[in-house]
Subunit: 314 residues, 2 copies
């Protein structure tokens, strides 16, 4: 079965991370992924520190494998969460939406492996300098907050810019994506959208159904005008937002339009008011499965693809 | 050296196409690529049929290898060009910006292999039904007119939707991209941006220099509001256009703003008024080289990457 240096670095069985999706990636999902041999990651999002602590405890009660926490650095509770992950001694912290330099010393002293999510060469170089353990290079085909470069273009450039292990993210939903990521220079992958259909993922059933029924052109990016582009399913909400964005709605009204939309999607499944974050690869997600089964299927299929790689060079 | 079914289908040495870039891909560039073992493709763009015939003759005078013509189906001269490629018996026609069904019969009778550029599953199925010989699945990281899906997400879905050979395009500039494309299910690649730096590419020296000096976040997409998104270098022109697009400029003025901008970039290199089409991978293009050397370098490096694929499965 597939192994990489990432497995040794983190003490995990397969080089597969589950993306830290705000409002979605809780202790239960993270535990299921870690227990299945990957790395489950609890999303702190904008939640208070104590929520995160509680989710860590839930995960610990369900698995003794390493777990991670994703810290969204723009959160008003980022400092709290940064402290709590050291107290709870989570094995891995991934970071998004900014520069985690100010926490690095404390995290490293606590033995935490810090793996920032990055979307540019400059950020890769900076994070390498300040002592990251690895980097997640996330292409703009991913769901949620997106960068500009796609996985195909970003991953090789990040690999050229750092000696750290690189984890590819964005658009990866099956073994072909894993194998392709390895060819680009990565030694692991992070999948978000594929885990939305995990049995242990507690999003509203309508959200899950939307992902499983999604077709190829199912997502769109909104929020570019305000500088925070977000990829979500092309629902009525997303279309309305896009229209408002081009239609000259003032910035503060536009901001207000999106407030709470993520929670509404996850908890209520409301297609009119909810923002259903999703990567472009939703169409490749076909059914609900236990997280462990998803990991096994993806890894086994990646292995098959990689074993056939030599046929091109005969 | 790398071979695939595409080589046999088209009688070419390496499974590498040069993208049919309007105003750029002329007979000289196409001949250099074909002579180097790939498939050189003359771009018809919006040019009159007789221009295309002339470029075909130039290419034929420089190489006896197969050549292709890319027909932009929205061109006012598309019917003329469609006729001329049969008269000149080009080996391959690639098509963009539409549905070439009405020409299929004549082209196939003339022995031409028809290979549409597509960006969605629906178009892949339609083109398979009407008798295409292969499909180019082009991700939105490519330069020029772009679809929504990225190469990483599009290629596997197209491979699932057709039994035809699939050529991956978008974001591919080196051997890693070729190897990744194979893992995704493709049996060949098309590169555009990488060939902008070919010695035989006759764009303005300032255009070539901009590509060679480009950094990772060098491109942007404009034109979404009018329904024709285009990826180009982030120049003053592109920034101004983007501002006008969000700023409520009437559609006809916006349309006028872009008229001639491509020609100005290619022929005059004017950074203020020119639109410098480029894929996201411009940052991976490092120097001017003969087209044949580009192909050899890319193929040799892809081979190295593929030969190492089995290390992950030990």
């Amino acid at each position: 079965m597939i192994k990489s240096e990432l497995c040794e670095l983190l003490g995990i069985q397969y080089p597969v991370f589950q993306g830290g999706m705000a409002w979605i990636a809780d202790g239960k999902l993270a535990a299921a992924v870690s227990d299945g041999g990957g790395l489950g990651i609890i999303a702190a999002g904008n939640a208070p520190g104590e929520y995160v602590r509680e989710q860590i405890k839930i995960a610990r009660s369900l698995t003794d494998k390493p777990i991670g926490v994703n810290i969204m650095l723009l959160s008003p509770f980022a400092d709290d969460v940064a402290q709590i992950v050291t107290e709870e001694k989570v094995e891995v912290v991934t970071t998004g939406a900014g520069n985690p330099s100010k926490y690095m010393k404390a995290w490293k002293e606590a033995g935490i492996k810090v793996i920032p999510v990055i979307a540019s060469v400059a950020m890769a170089k900076l994070m390498t300098r300040v002592g990251a353990s690895a980097l997640i290079a996330e292409g703009g085909e991913s769901g949620g907050h997106v960068g500009e470069l796609t996985t195909m273009v970003l991953v090789p450039q990040i690999c050229d810019a750092t000696d750290l292990p690189v984890i590819a993210a964005g658009g990866i939903a099956d073994g072909r994506g894993v194998a392709a990521s390895f060819m680009l220079g990565a030694c692991g992958v992070q999948m978000g959208t594929r885990f939305l259909s995990a049995k242990e993922c507690t999003i509203h059933p309508d959200y899950k159904e939307k992902i499983i029924k999604a077709t190829d052109l199912c997502t769109m990016v909104t929020g570019k005008r305000l500088g925070h582009p977000v990829r979500s399913l092309r629902t009525q909400f997303a279309r309305n937002y896009s229209k408002a964005e081009y239609g000259g709605m003032p910035d503060d009204e536009l901001e207000a339009l999106a407030t709470g939309a993520l929670r509404i999607a996850v908890q209520e499944g409301d297609a009119e008011k909810g923002c259903f974050l999703s990567g472009q690869c939703a169409a490749m997600v076909k059914k609900e499965q236990p997280a462990a089964e998803i990991i096994k299927e993806v890894i086994e299929s990646a292995e098959q693809v990689l074993l056939k790689a030599s046929k091109w060079t005969d």
